[in-house]
Amino acid sequence: MSIQTRFHINRGDFLLDVDFTIPESGVTALFGPSGSGKTTLLRAIAGLESCRDGYLKVGDQVWHDRQKFLPAHERPLGFVFQEPSLFPHLNVRQNLEYGLKRMKETTKKVSLDRAVELLGISHLLSRRAHQLSGGEQQRVAIARALAVSPAMLLLDEPLSALDQQLKLEILPYLESLHRELNIPVLYVSHSRNEVARLADHMVLLENGKVQATGTVHELFTRLDLALTHGPKTETVIEATVSEHDEIFNLTYLDFSGGHFTVSRCQMPVGSTVRLQILARDVSLTLERQTGTSILNIFPAIVDKIAQEGSSQVTVRLRLGDLALLARITRKSAQNLNLTPGSKVYAQVKSVALLT
């Protein structure tokens, strides 16, 4: 099942012109700089933007085409705005029940209790919006959107109005949503870190146009995108916890290109984790190094090389069916005589666990 969208929205000084298809599962990030049209696109999907020339098909249901425009209140979705936007005249419980009361009994799937428990807000139910912190308000807003058992959850930069501390407070809740509810999520963000942590797929937007769509792993390693040329270029890889080493206090993680050794993590064996590898933490050798302190060394094949200013290059490596980026000096690339197809060993100096 998939979500097919096509929108042409002209706002005089801004033109959104998109046409793409994304899977109807997992978390899809609408990613791009501010002013790229992410929010407008999300609002168009929700039916909050008037748009004559549009098409939207979710699964096998057409929500919007030339003849038909399903108004927002008839679309089975949940929407979380940038600011929490709780109703100030209602308390938390009444806010949560607002949507619930307006649903058909048969479409109820997520119970209110479940939403309250997932977001950890049971102690706030009798309070009013102005008595809550920003982070608590946003958690209530997310629970309120979940309580209507949406067929799709739309989040418009739900963390951007919060400070770093509150972001860290909410991120785990968003991650658990992703794991525990099988609802496709569209997540607008301009934060690379949030996307790396939360998203499976990405729609990369710029100036109202789609630059690329694909998995986060794929887009984060595509050298033709500006995304891979910043100072914080990274590869995101999903791996499975295979074993904990109690003697050295380490954890072994399996992925399709081999296995990683990382510091002991709390995740149980069999669970999926996300790894972030900064390109500048990956070095290359022609032969497998022995007598090195580095534990994570993988055989790889050079796929592509891109110039990075005058002194550096970014090398895209193939590890099985995955890609890995390495940022090295241009001089090293020349010394090693790297060209597409070269066989190398990638030494990964440090790996960060995102989940």
């Binding site: 927002a72 209140h73 307006r102 102005h130």
Partner: protein, 227 residues
Amino acid sequence: MILSEHDLTALWISLKLSTLTTVILLLIGTPISWWLARTRWRYKFLLEAVVALPLVLPPTVLGFYLLIALGPHGPIGGLMEVMGGRPLAFTFPGLVIGSVFYSMPFVIQPLQEAFKSVGRRPLEVASTLRASPLDRFFTVAVPLAKSGFLTAAVLGFAHTLGEFGVVLMIGGNIPGTTQVASIAIYDHVESLAYLQAHWLSAVLLIFSFLLLIVVYALNNRFRVVKP
């Protein structure tokens, strides 16, 4: 009894007129102010100017035109006659129609401001929570504009209570039918009955003051609850 029966009747007519006018204005003013607060129509200033007209127009001018319109040869009065009724000039219903026009800005302007300050966001939130347009109007817009409704009702009421020129023009000064308190005071002064004018004036002064105290007190309380 300090107030004569004649004064009490005038007070009663004033209260009846103000209450009816306020209710009618809230009923027709709500959709108009909602529309004014949300429309992007470029010529909406024209309607806003029409609504505000009674603020600057001498009441006698408004009263004069209404008198013509409501009289037997005017469009409204004529229509009434054709339909078997009688012209509305010098009747209580005529007073109500005049007051509705005269007090219109005092109801529509606070409501329009209140609806504007509610903003679009809460209504968008409601629409993503399955609320239809009418549903979200009554369950979100109206409760959030509560203080605007209170201000509109009290200002509309108090302003009608103090009306003089329009009433005199279209209602005449018929004791028991169209003689309101403000005109009764004028009559007392004309006939040099200063004591009676004092008492009736004091009643109106205290009543209006109390009304405004209630509005401002409640509005302050509402503001604390706002985000």
